[in-house]
C-alpha cells in the first residue's frame, strides 16, 4: 500500500521557471518529511526536510511547503536550472513507532536550457 503519493511523474520546465512537485500522505503519525534528489547512476541524497511544527522551510532555491490539515507537502524549485534535472522523491517517516522511511514514486524533472 502506497502511503505517500507523489505527482507528477515527470515535469519539464524552462530554465528560470518554477518547478513544483506535490506529495500527499495518509498516516497522520508521520512527523518527518524529507525530499531526496537522485542523479542517474547515483544513490538518492537528502535535499531538504521539514517537520510538522512549521509550514514552510526554505534553503536557497528550494522550498518545502507543508499543509498538515490537508496531509500534503510540496517542493518548489525557484529559478530552475539545467543542473536541477534529476529525479526527486518525497518521503515520510514516523520516528516514534516504526523508524521506516517511506518514499513516494518519484518525479523526473527536466529543465530545458
Amino acid at each position: 500500500q502506497q502511503q505517500v503519493k507523489q505527482s507528477p511523474q515527470s515535469l519539464i520546465v524552462q530554465k528560470g521557471g518554477i518547478s513544483i512537485i506535490n506529495c500527499a500522505y495518509e498516516n497522520t503519525a508521520f512527523d518527518y518529511f524529507p525530499w531526496y534528489q537522485q542523479f542517474p547512476g547515483k544513490g538518492p541524497a537528502l535535499l531538504i526536510a521539514i517537520r510538522p511544527d512549521v509550514s514552510e522551510k526554505k534553503e536557497g532555491r528550494f522550498t518545502i511547503s507543508f499543509n498538515k490539515s490537508a496531509k500534503q507537502f510540496s517542493l518548489h524549485i525557484m529559478d530552475s536550472q539545467p543542473g536541477d534535472s534529476a529525479t526527486y522523491f518525497c518521503a515520510a517517516s514516523d520516528g516514534d513507532s516504526s523508524y521506516k522511511l517511506i518514499f513516494g514514486s518519484g518525479t523526473r524533472l527536466l529543465v530545458r536550457p
Binding site: 511523474q9 538518492p44 541524497a45 520516528g95 522511511l101 517511506i102 518514499f103 514514486s105
Partner: protein
C-alpha cells in the same frame, strides 16, 4: 557516499539461485535499510535494522531475508532469485530515526 559500500555493484544470476548483497558502513550508524528501486514504483523498503540482530520487514519483504550480526554490516539475501527481483538495490544508513538517511551507490541485480 558517507562511508557506505555496497557489493557487488552489478550481478547477473539465474532464476532459483541464492544471492546475497552486502552493505558495509564505516559511520557506526544505528539504522540500516535495504530498498529496491523500480521504474514507476520509486524506492520501496524491503527490510530495515534498528540495531545488531534487530530487524523488521518493510513494504516488499516477501522473498527476501536479512541479517545484521555487526553494526557495520547488513546483508540482504534472496533465497531463490526470481525474475521479479530484477532491480536496483540500495542500502541506506541513518544515525537515528527521523534523521538524514545516506544511500550507497546501489547494486544492479539481473535475474535471468
Amino acid at each position: 557516499d558517507a562511508g557506505i559500500t555496497q557489493s557487488p555493484r552489478h550481478k547477473v544470476t539465474e532464476t532459483g539461485t541464492p544471492v546475497t548483497l552486502r552493505c558495509h558502513q564505516t559511520e557506526n550508524h544505528r539504522y540500516m535499510y535495504w530498498y529496491r528501486q523500480d521504474p514507476g514504483h520509486g524506492l520501496r523498503l524491503i527490510h530495515y535494522s534498528y540495531g545488531v540482530k534487530d530487524t523488521d520487514k518493510g513494504e516488499v519483504s516477501d522473498g527476501y531475508s536479512v541479517s545484521r550480526s555487526k553494526t557495520e554490516d547488513f546483508l540482504l539475501t534472496l533465497e531463490s532469485a526470481t525474475s521479479s527481483q530484477t532491480s536496483v538495490y540500495f542500502c541506506a544508513i541513518s544515525r537515528a530515526a527521523n534523521t538524514e538517511a545516506f544511500f550507497g551507490q546501489g547494486t544492479r541485480l539481473t535475474v535471468v
